[in-house]
Every structure is written in C-alpha cells, then in structure tokens.
Symmetry: C2
Subunit: 366 residues, 2 copies
C-alpha cells in the first residue's frame, strides 16, 4: 500500500480542492443516463456559463483532463488540411501546435519569447495573411511561464471567418475571462486549478458560430470520444443519446467547486488571486528571486520564478515535498533546472499558503 500523504499543492496544478468539492466525491454514484445525473450536468452547465461569462448553449464538462478539452475543441473544429494560426510563447502553445498538427491541420505559428506576452497585433496580422484560417488559438494563461496573454483585442476576429479558440486551463476562475464580451468561439479549462475540484473534467464552451462550423463539417471528427457534436447530443439534446459512461462522482465534485466559486463571486475570486499572487511575487522579489513573466503580463495564480544564483532547484524542491509536504513545480523548457512554478490557485490561494511556503523555504535555506 502506498503512503497516505497530504500535500499543500502549490505547483502548476492540481491545487487543493475546496473542502466542499472533496466532500461531494462521496455522493452516491448514479448512472450516466439517470435523470438526476442529467439534471446535475444541466446545473454544472449553468454554473460554467456563469464562470465563463457566456450564454453559449454548448457548455459542458468533457470527461477528461484539460488536455482532453484542448483536443476536443481542436478535433471538433478543424478538418484535415485546414489552417490553424497558433500563438506560441510557452509549453502549452507548443502543445496546441502539436495537437492541431496530429489532427491533420496546417499550423501557422506566431511566436514570442517564453516569458513575454504575445502581441495581439502579430496574431491579427497572421490571420490577415491567412484569411482562410479556420481558427486562431491562444493560451490565456501560460502555465509554463506565468505569462498572461491579452485576449480582448482578438475579439476583432469576429469580423473574419476565423474562429477564436482560447486555452483557459489556468485562467478560468483565477483571472478575468469573458467569453462573450471577448467574442471567444471555443474555450476550455480544467477542474483542478482555479475551479477548486480534483482533476478529471474539462469544461468546454462553444459559440453558436463554432457550433455552426462543427455542424457543417464534411468529414466526421476523427475522435469519437472527444467529438463535441456527440457530447451535445448526449447532454443537451431533448432526448439524451448515450455516448460514454460519464462519472457522476467527478461531476458532483466539479458542481460543488463551482458552487464555492460562485458563492464567493467571480470578481472577488479574481481579486483574491490577484492579492495573493501579488504578495507572493513581492516576497520573492524581496528575497532576490527573479520573476520570469514580464511585469505587464504577470499572472497572479501562477508565478514562474528564477532561483538565485548558486541554488540548485531540484534538491530544494524535493526537500520541500519530503520534509514539509509542499509541492511546487519545476521549470519547463529553457527554464528547466533554474526555475520553479508556484501556483496559488483556487482554495490554495490564501495568505497562509504564501507564508507557509516562504517559511519552509527559509527553514531549508537556513
């Protein structure tokens, strides 16, 4: 039997779920076609609409992690040979390229250095050069660097035939995100970051325009499991059509996490994340730890920090986990071996998390 460990989860996700979300895991399992399960999903969809700030009908949890949400959107909207403009300034922008390319799309990359935000003007220019692009995809909150990419200016895509697809895995619930106002056509997230539930579900929302694109496909979505059209028929059609055995356990937990978030209020949750992330970043700076994201585009919920010269990150990170049960994440890409990624997300976005982490680090550094 493996050890029973209790972690303070301050990495790039999962974060510690809200107690209400943990408690909901114990609700009795019910069938995936039980009217009570479908009513539960309908409530989850309503709550997700509130959190995504959208009226989109197609708003539902995909039975998989954030990566499944990404693939569901790309696979359902792109047909083989179609063009996707992708903003790349970190690991998850790269993943968007890989998933789109595997699906048979032609990928047009628009890059910025890791740690810097994408320039919306560059993205819009790339679309003007490629007006036949089916979609333009950007990560709102780059989990690999702590950079916030500016989405609002991309609303201009609504005037074109190119859909706007936004990765909100780390963004949703942590920082402002307005699907309808920003004219986002496809957006996905994950249950285990700022939504405060365990991993396992990927909330997805599609605009009416994106649904239209999906419905006018000439070749079926290559994936059966991640076909959002089939999920629509399961969850949202008048007579639900069996698709897969969705988990009432995970659904109950996400439902509860969203309930906590909405009870606190979206804007107040954003403000809490802003305050806690700002505090952490100030404390790190005061101690001589560098911040990777440029000052104008720094996320509060995820901080990538460069360790002071001479400090080895891996042994320190391991000691933090083993002695204190505190998880932080390793740096990725060019920052591997030199940086940490510290999440202050959902239930873990509290001043006590910042103080606990810093006290433990201070103790380890003696």
């Amino acid at each position: 039997m493996t050890a029973y460990v209790d972690r303070l989860l301050l990495g790039p996700g999962p974060s510690n779920p809200y107690p209400e979300a943990v408690q909901a895991l114990g609700r009795p399992v019910i069938g995936h076609l039980d009217p009570e399960y479908l009513a539960l999903v309908a409530e989850i969809s309503d709550r997700l609409r509130a959190v995504f700030d959208t009226a989109n009908e197609l708003t539902l949890p995909v039975s998989g992690t954030g990566s499944a949400g990404m693939e569901a959107c790309l696979a359902s909207l792109l047909q083989p040979g179609e063009k996707a403009v992708v903003g790349v300034n970190g690991y998850f922008g790269e993943r968007l390229c890989e998933v789109a390319a595997r699906g048979g799309a032609e990928v047009v990359r628009v890059a910025a250095p890791w740690g810097r935000a994408l320039d919306p003007a560059d993205l819009l220019a790339a679309q003007r050069t490629n007006p036949d692009a089916r979609l333009l995809a950007v990560v709102a909150a780059e989990t690999s660097t702590g950079v916030r990419n500016d989405i609002a200016p991309l609303a201009a895509l609504a005037e074109t035939d190119t859909l706007l697809l936004v990765d909100a895995v780390t963004a949703l619930g942590g920082t402002e995100l307005r699907v309808d106002d920003w004219k986002i056509d496809a957006c996905y997230s994950a249950s285990q970051k700022c939504l405060g539930a365990p991993p396992g579900l990927a909330p997805v929302t599609l605009s009416a325009r994106a649904v239209e694109v999906m419905r006018s496909r000439t070749v079926p979505v290559r994936s059966f499991y991640l076909d959002l059209g089939l999920l629509w028929e399961y969850y949202l059609a008048p007579a639900p059509r069996y698709h897969h055995t969705a988990s009432s356990t995970m659904a109950s937990s996400l439902h509860a996490g969203l309930g906590v978030l909405l009870a606190e209020g979206k804007e107040r949750t954003w403000a809490r994340h802003a305050g806690i992330g700002g505090l952490l970043q100030q404390e790190l700076t005061d101690r001589g730890w560098g911040l990777i994201a440029d000052a104008n585009n720094r996320l509060p919920q995820l901080t990538a920090t460069r360790l002071p010269e001479g400090l080895e990150e891996a042994p320190l990170r391991r000691a933090l986990l083993e002695r204190f049960g505190i998880e932080v994440g390793a740096g990725l890409g060019e920052f591997a071996g030199r940086a940490w990624r510290i999440g202050m997300m959902g239930h873990a976005a509290r001043e006590r998390s910042v103080r606990t982490l810093l006290a433990a680090v201070d103790e380890l550094l003696g």
Copy 2:
C-alpha cells in the same frame, strides 16, 4: 441544488462501487508527478496485471472511460488506411467499427445476429482472407445483449501478423479473461463495472508485439490525449515525462477497488458473478421473462431480458427508479422498448440485489 439520490445500480454500468473504493475518493489529492502518485500508479499497474492475467509491461489506466480505452487502443495501433477485422454482434461491436473508421481504418465486418455469439471460425477465416489486417477486434462481453464471445480460440492469431484486440469493458473481473494465455495483444476495460470503482478510468494493456507495432508507426497517433506511447513515457519510462494532469482521486479509488477484487480472489469473484447471474436468470425464466443471449453464451454479469408480452418497459423501469431507487438499463437496437439490461456486477453482484430487484418488480406488477 440537485436531489441527493442513492441508487441500487443494476443497469449495464456503473455498478455500486465497493465501499473501500468510495472511501478512497477522500484521500488527499496529490500531484500527477508526485513520486507517491507514480508509486500508486505502479501498484495499480501491478494489480491490473493480476486481474488481466498478464505480464505485459504496458499496463496502465487511461484517464477516461471505457470508450477512451477503446479509442486509445485503436488509435495507437492503427495507421490510416490499415485494415481492421471487427466482430459485430451488438452495440459495442458497432462502436468498434465506428471508432476504427473515424480513425481512417478500413473496416472488415464479421457479423452475427444480436443475441448470438460470434463464431471464432468466422473471425479467423476473415483474417485469412485479409492477412494484411493490422488487427482483429472483438468484444468479450457484449453489454448490449449479455452475450459472451469466445476469445480463447482467437489465440491462433498469434501465428499471423494480425493483432488480437479485445474489449473487456464488461468482462474484466466478472468472467474469465486471460490476456497472456489467450494471446490477446490489446485489451481495455473500465473502472465502473466488475472492478468496483466509479467511472473515470480505463485500464489498458498491450502485449510486447502490440508495443512493437505502435513503435514502428510511420505517422504519429492522431490523438495526443489517447496516445499510448506518450502514456508509456509518462507512467513507465525511467524518468516520467509529463503528459496530462492525471487524477490521483480516481487512481486511489481504482486502486482500492482492485484491492477488494484481488483480496477476494479473481476465480472466486468470477464464481460469485456466475452464481448471482445464474440465480437472476433462473428467476427471470421462472417468471416468464425471456433471455436474449443464447444459452451457451450467456454472461452472468449482464443479463438482457425480454419483458413478457403486454408489459411496457419504460414506465416500469421509471417506477423502479423513482419509487425504489433501483436502476436497470433499457434495451438497445432491435431490443429497444422490449427488453431490459440488468447488471449484477462488482459490489452489486450479491443475492440481496437479485431479491431486492425481483421484490420491487413484483410489487410494481402487483
């Protein structure tokens, strides 16, 4: 807030999880790269090897439901344009065809009527006619009809270049299944049936020969999320490579469910299912309810039963759910509107489930 309902789950799955599996859901969430999580998955893989009866190294839980397991195997093994021979005698045989075809495979169907078993000789003959077939796929336990398809004779495929792929979603843990002895190259199941955990994970195992086929692909797997090669690198490679944020919550629960199964003993669990399914089928027959599966190929864990003439299935099924909190499944395909599917699986495979169900039906039929 939706109603808090507690069901006796006697449909085609999910079944009621073992109490130990429910309790394990409350274990603290840990990160997907935490050494303790990777140790947990290593133990799950060991337990799955015991249940699948295999020494296959690539044995792991996919983060999705049984349908994700199906797609992971088909997508990882088939390249576009390759041939798949598929046995079809029910809904899930049809699904195998659909998933393979969406993935770009050429499907060769070998059909038998719903309610009858596939003849292994027919399947082997189809392979001889199509010796270039990459794989031959069969459902071991057809959840739509309660029919057991005979897998052992298909071990002869080991002498050919065609892989044997077996859907064990309803079979695993409920009836005999021997991956190594029967020379099965790819096999998948689901956590929520005879393994006694909630839905959300799909155990998968690949033989060395199947891994070799996967590694010698010339085009990447179209799906990133369901690429078993990437999952191998995440879970089984010496240095784990991040792939997705797997859920320690679901893993802990599956781990516990498998623990209960193995503590009872595989053969004794099969015997329990055989006894309970036989009892149900005898009682149904005594009451004049028909059994859809032919007598020689009847599953104990899933019984498809034809209601006596004059009985409307839907109102009776609804009353069973609403008045007694007992779920049974509707008939599928040609049996829609005339049949039920009754599961006696995992923790629910007890005499008290049979007696409770029959007493409730008797009460409703007054």
